[in-house]
């Protein structure tokens, strides 16, 4: 830090930045490097080498896996876009009853562990699932929804499409009506208006969401494994790392390759977005342009929306039926219904629920705290290395959960926490740390976006009237960022609550286990399928209600503040 910066009262931000930086170093960089390092070691001698990468690229199985992974990720982006586009467009551009409900329902798939979704989807859409049994009975044919890679693509796109939905909706919401009005004035309308003005303006949001979907699908392990698909990169990495006896560094090599691919996807989206972050809210602008629909148009739109919602919520329906059914085997619906699964879960497993609320709440809290701090440091100070703080925090999005989990076990097992005398890697706090690191990018993006919209002058006015930097942050910056902070908190909380890939490696005793882990455990026995599903439904309800409530809070805040925010941003 320069002398000048100190003179300017940047001691505080510098200290906070240092703390955040050290946190990221200790809990992100070091563990990941610890894992990556193995990829560069000769398996026999331990010497540094690139031979493992040569082995990787020569192996036809790995080549095939790489191609499959890319194919699945791309197709999932396409399918997810098809789901997200109508939902976000109809709800943001038209006067559409139940828009908030639709938006909330549209986010629900994200808050169910994908492996749980896959179980339900198999029961509904699998080769001998309800739909195909009916099709076979009535028409004598079946549709291979869930066969091979199809199943992975379908489950993944249903699970992750909310990323596109949320980002695209945010983008569409920020397009000023004057943009569309001037296009209409120049003769554009209908589809052309959408294609030439609305979509290009919404592009940044779309690309941000789509690249996130690509990344997540590319890194996901649970879904392909549950569907017994092995020949993709992430499952190969997991199988090779997690299986005893297979000691070869290939799992680590694949981890490195996953990380590289993910960074590449991030970089491409960054390039695509560079210089396109249109500030479209104009001074004195009229806000959003919302149009009324003609009755028949409305019916059509509702039809499309309902069809999509039915499809993307089918895992939830499947899970709900499963949680209430007695035996569901090779039949369209369960043989009989019962509440006993819920009774059992509530009496035996309330710990999972409290743990989840605790972990996800703490993790999301850490995330918005750090997200706000990093956003402030990046956008409002000239501290040296502030960009790296941002990159490191965002980089977490490119780190597959398994890699982080293994890194933690490797790095922190030998470290004993004083007082409680336990290894750090098996203390429940480490789960919170892992969740916080994994979800930090979401919260950070939300915080950065919120701070970017905030005119510096609002802060300068406070400083001018005698408020120090700290007081200014407390009284002006944080209150005005609150919409973004709440959004960040919700995203982090909701997704952390259903995370499994890292926690499965870090849970060291059952009393520390969160919901997703509990569901996974239940699903490991014949009699546990129903209770597992019941636990899943409870998880979805908790997170869903939390999300809906915060949506309402944000909405209310926005209606209060939008007009002057426009003025502020327009200057």
């Amino acid at each position: 830090m320069s002398l000048e910066a100190m003179a300017r009262g940047q001691w505080g931000p510098a200290a906070v930045g240092l703390i955040v930086g050290l946190f990221l170093l200790a809990f992100l960089v070091v563990p990941v490097v610890n894992v990556i390092y193995v990829a560069f070691q000769d398996p026999n001698t331990g010497a540094l080498t690139l031979i493992n990468f040569v082995d990787f690229f020569r192996n036809s199985l790995f080549q095939e896996s790489a191609i499959n992974s890319i194919y699945v990720a791309l197709m999932a982006v396409v399918l997810a876009s098809i789901f997200a586009l109508p939902l976000s467009y109809f709800t943001t551009r038209f006067h559409f009853g139940g828009a908030i409900l639709i938006q909330t329902l549209g986010v629900l798939p994200l808050i169910m562990p994908p492996f749980v979704g896959a179980v339900a989807m198999l029961l509904l859409l699998g080769e001998n699932g309800s739909v195909n049994l009916l099709l076979d009975e009535w028409f004598g044919f079946t549709i291979p929804f869930m066969e091979g890679l199809n199943g992975v693509i379908l489950v993944e796109s249903i699970h992750y499409f909310p990323f596109i939905l949320m980002n695209l909706s945010a983008s569409l919401n920020s397009i000023d009506r004057s943009m569309e009005e001037s296009a209409q004035n120049l003769g554009a309308s209908g589809v052309r208006l959408f294609r030439r003005i609305v979509f290009p303006l919404a592009m940044p949001g779309y690309v941000a969401g789509a690249s996130l979907v690509f990344l997540k699908v590319f890194d996901d392990i649970g879904t392909p494994l549950l569907l017994n698909i092995n020949n993709m990169l992430a499952p190969q990495a997991y199988l090779r790392i997690a299986s005893i006896g297979i000691s070869d560094p290939m799992g680590y090599v694949i981890s490195v390759i996953l990380v590289i691919f993910s960074l590449l996807a991030l970089w491409i989206s960054f390039l695509a977005l560079r210089g396109k972050d249109y500030a479209t809210v104009q001074k004195g602008g009229g806000g959003l342009m919302k149009r009324d629909l003609r009755p028949w148009e409305k019916a059509g739109c509702y039809g499309v929306v309902i069809f999509i919602l039915l499809l993307v919520l089918s895992p939830h329906f499947g899970l709900a039926i499963l949680s209430l059914g007695t035996v569901w085997s090779f039949s369209v619906l369960p043989d009989a219904y019962t509440f006993s699964h819920y009774m059992r879960v509530v009496s035996e497993s309330s710990e999972f629920i409290t743990n989840t609320l605790l972990y996800a709440g703490l993790a999301a809290g850490i995330d918005v705290l750090f997200g706000t701090a990093i956003a402030y440091i990046v956008l409002r100070t000239n501290l040296i290395g502030r960009k790296w703080l941002d990159y490191a925090a965002m980089g977490a999005v490119a780190i597959p959960g398994v890699v982080l989990g293994i890194g933690y076990l490797r790095t922190f097992y030998a470290f004993n926490v004083p007082i409680i005398d336990k290894p750090l890697a098996s203390w429940w706090v480490i789960i919170v740390v892992a969740l916080a690191i994994r979800r930090l990018p979401y919260a950070l993006r939300a915080c950065v976006a919120a701070l970017q919209q905030l005119s510096v002058m609002l802060e300068e006015a406070a400083e001018n009237l005698g408020a120090t930097k700290g007081r200014t942050i407390y009284r002006v910056v944080v209150p005005l960022m609150s919409g973004g902070i709440v959004a960040g908190f919700v995203t982090s909380f909701a997704t952390a609550a259903v995370e499994l890939s890292t926690t499965i490696m870090l849970v060291s005793q059952e009393s520390d286990a969160p919901l997703a882990f509990g569901i996974y455990e239940f699903m490991q026995s014949a009699a546990g399928r129903g209770p597992g599903a019941a636990l899943g439904i409870i998880a979805v309800l908790i997170v869903g209600i939390a999300t809906y409530v915060s949506h309402r809070i944000i909405q209310r805040k926005e209606t209060q503040q939008t007009p002057d925010m426009a003025i502020v941003a327009g200057v």
Binding site: D42, N44, D55, L358, S525
Partner: protein, 449 residues
């Protein structure tokens, strides 16, 4: 959340109390017991409840890991061990831990447990781990599925290789599941290296899927994703008991092996651990195994008196699991090679294998009732190509060769040539070519008929 805080406090407080109380009650059990186990909550919670009822002072923590992950966990955490016991099915998993010097010897006090179940010794002869239940491997199927698809019920492993089951069978991979590994090994030992692999590949050619977890198989059969599965008995028995429309049988060539429990070296709560073993082997503990959610074969013969009518009793019914004398040493020597071979030949090349098998089955179907020497020769050639294994039995058990597949890096002084990735790549190339060629030959044979 207050729970966590109070836990912290209680630990600190408890430590202080323990120091004070130590001279007073030297024989008292520790307050806690941490068990690493591969068993599902249905098993662990039931046993845990029964144990805690017997010893109210002890709180049992069940740490659920897949067998393979559990071994890895104990290895990784050995330097700072916090686990008391390892509790899982596959004896070879315990052999691995014993080999790594991670287990503690223990002498059981309870009497009345026989030396053997089937052809298998119940306890580790060296005293490191104890059998508490017996498990055998068999076939389970979904009765609705079989009825809907008009499939017959299988009786033997060889039945599963029949064309009628093509695309209807599921199994887990030995590298993913300790129990599956035993199943594969049992058949290899029972039929010999070449014949054993040939039979496995003939069955695998009918696979619908190779599941990632061993429970994936009963799960798939229960829900009807596929019709038949190769599973360990308690999966089949407990699914049946839970009301699913499934059935389970032991084929003749199977082995009954004990499911085991052992105390981990440097266990923080050794007395509670010892009490847990004694409880598990006591009549009270053994009865818990008969619970319909668990359904394991008790090792204490007296317990069978309380079992339901159709419950298999290996101490009476000598046909169960006595046919193969399982060689544990052999299994241990080639453990990793078997895993890797199976993955390369079956798991990762399932679609190629399935295509070749389908072509052979089609050719044979056309063949039936006809005589065509040339075509018959081609089909035999194709079958031989599918069955081909890249290495011999002798090679598979060679120490130096196995070292390549070992998890832990050897000391610099041990000379190891070759990398696992390199070898698997060679195998993969051979296998892929063989399957493709077999398919071509079978199709050629079919065209000649």
């Amino acid at each position: 959340m207050t729970m966590k805080k109070t836990t912290l406090f209680a630990v600190a407080f408890g430590l202080a109390l323990a120091v004070l109380a130590a001279p007073l009650g030297a024989v008292a059990l520790e307050k806690k017991l941490v068990i690493v186990t591969s068993y599902p909550p249905d098993t662990t919670t039931t046993v845990k409840k029964a144990f805690e009822k017997k010893h109210p002072g002890v709180k049992v923590e069940m740490l659920k890991k897949k067998t393979t992950a559990g071994i890895k966990y104990l290895q990784e955490t050995a330097s700072n061990n916090r686990s008391d016991m390892f509790w899982a099915s596959a004896p070879d998993a315990f052999e691995v831990l014993k080999g790594d010097n991670l287990l503690q010897k223990y002498k059981v006090k309870i009497k009345g447990i026989p030396k053997k179940v089937g052809a298998f010794p119940i306890n580790d002869p060296e005293g490191y781990y104890k059998g508490f239940a017996a498990s055998g491997y068999g076939i389970m199927w979904n009765t609705r599925y079989l009825k809907a698809k008009k499939l017959p019920e299988p009786k033997t492993w060889a039945d599963l290789a029949k064309p009628v089951y093509h695309g209807h069978v599921g199994m887990s991979a030995p590298s993913r599941s300790g129990t599956t590994h035993l199943t594969v090994e049992t058949l290899l030992q029972g039929k010999g290296w070449e014949k054993g692999w040939a039979e496995w590949k003939a069955i695998a050619g009918n696979f619908k899927t190779v599941t990632e977890r061993s429970f994936g198989v009963p799960d798939g059969v229960n829900s009807g994703q596929f019709g038949l599965g190769i599973v360990i008995d308690f999966f089949g028995l407990s699914s049946e008991a839970s009301g699913f429309p499934v059935k389970f049988i032991y084929p003749p060539v199977t082995t009954l092996v004990p499911a085991n429990i052992a105390i981990v070296k440097n266990a923080p709560h050794p007395k509670a651990a010892a009490a847990f073993i004694e409880f598990l082997l006591s009549p009270g503990g053994q009865e818990v195994l008969l619970d319909k959610k668990i359904r394991r074969l008790p090792v204490n013969p007296a317990t069978y008196a309380k079992a339901p009518a159709d419950f298999p009793n290996p101490f009476k019914d000598k046909s169960i699991g006595a046919a193969v004398k399982f060689d544990l040493q052999l299994s241990k020597n080639r453990y990793n090679v078997i895993n890797s071979l199976f993955d390369v030949m079956v798991t990762y090349r399932l679609s190629d294998l399935r295509a070749a098998t389908k072509a052979i089955q089609a050719a044979e179907a056309q063949m039936s009732g006809k005589k065509n020497m040339a075509a018959s020769k081609l089909i035999d050639e194709a079958k031989a190509l599918v069955a081909k294994v890249p290495i011999t039995a002798a090679q598979a058990s060679k120490k130096e060769f196995n070292a390549i597949f070992k998890k832990k890096r050897k000391k610099a002084t041990t000379k190891v040539t070759g990398r696992q990735a390199e070898i698997e790549r060679e195998w993969d190339a051979q296998v892929k070519a063989n399957y493709a060629k077999a398919r071509a030959l079978a199709e050629k044979a079919a065209s000649m008929l």
